[in-house]
């Protein structure tokens, strides 16, 4: 077992385990923290794949901005284990079985097809900032600009929705 494989396995176990912890922990704050661990593991994978730019962006945007936002909301609402609504046991069981069955089916489907492609590990410059930047600002400059409009509208939308209004939607 090479060092690469060991690192891959470690990161994978870390990602899957944290994801499981995320969905099973009662306290939303814990969930958020576990999800951040998952994102870090995924960033580790990105570094392993020599996609440094994405690894950094993932940590900054996801683990940094987005998850902090989540944490913020959770804490704002003062949610904890006690307030966590309990779901119907039977429905939970059905959810887990169907989700697991879906996974099994897709895994078996992938085993059926013969992919013997290798992945370039820890080499190549396609994930470096220079190449990505050239590509982004040459070929994808229009989507890039349009995404700024998307951000603007998302911002306006968030403000409009979050504005305190006396709309009574209670029954």
């Amino acid at each position: 077992m090479s060092i690469i494989q060991i690192i891959f396995l470690l990161l994978s176990v870390m990602a899957v385990g944290s994801a499981l912890m995320m969905i099973t922990s009662k306290n939303p704050v814990n969930s958020v923290l576990w999800l951040i661990v998952v994102f870090f593991a995924i960033s580790g994978h990105y570094i392993l794949l020599n996609a440094q730019f994405l690894a950094i962006v993932n940590i900054i945007v996801y683990a940094g901005a987005i998850m902090v936002l989540f944490l913020f909301v959770v804490m704002l609402m003062n949610l904890n284990a006690e307030t966590e609504p309990v779901k119907n046991r039977r429905l939970q069981l059905i959810g887990v079985t169907s989700g697991g069955a879906l996974m099994l089916i897709i895994v078996s489907a992938i085993n059926k097809i013969d992919v013997e492609q290798l992945v370039q590990i820890n080499a190549g410059d396609s994930g470096l900032i220079k190449v990505l930047g050239m590509n982004l600002f040459k070929n994808y400059v229009l989507p890039f600009e349009i995404s700024s409009v998307l951000f603007l509208s998302a911002m306006i939308g968030a403000v409009v929705i979050g504005k305190k209004e006396e709309i009574d939607i209670k029954k």
Partner: protein, 110 residues
């Protein structure tokens, strides 16, 4: 590394996301599961891009292998926008019904 390992890893993460959506009732957790699913797909896209970096077509074009990563970048952009709006909705919902239990939101029934 074999691409299969990455596919299966992504798949496992994605399925965990689905199961999370199915079994949890907390809107925030469900939302986080959705983020997890997006990240699983992101990982797969990067893995595929590195797989294509080995192909002959990649040698002809400098940007061939990095297209998928650009897509990951855009997915992050969209995810960030989505989170800002989605969290605003959740906050509003909490403000109105004082819970984040999605089962309270069964107004689609009527």
């Amino acid at each position: 590394m074999d691409i299969k390992a990455y596919i299966i890893l992504s798949l496992v993460l994605f399925t965990i996301g689905i199961i999370g959506v199915l079994v949890r009732r907390n809107a925030i957790i469900i939302f986080m599961c959705v983020e997890l699913m997006l990240n699983a797909v992101n990982l797969l896209l990067v893995a595929f891009s590195k797989m294509h970096a080995l192909s002959s077509a990649a040698k002809a074009s400098a940007t061939f292998a990095s297209d998928a990563q650009i897509f990951v970048f855009f997915i992050m952009v969209v995810a960030a926008a989505e989170v800002s709006v989605g969290l605003a909705i959740i906050v509003m919902m909490y403000r109105n019904v004082h819970t984040v239990d999605v089962n309270f939101l069964n107004r689609l029934k009527n």
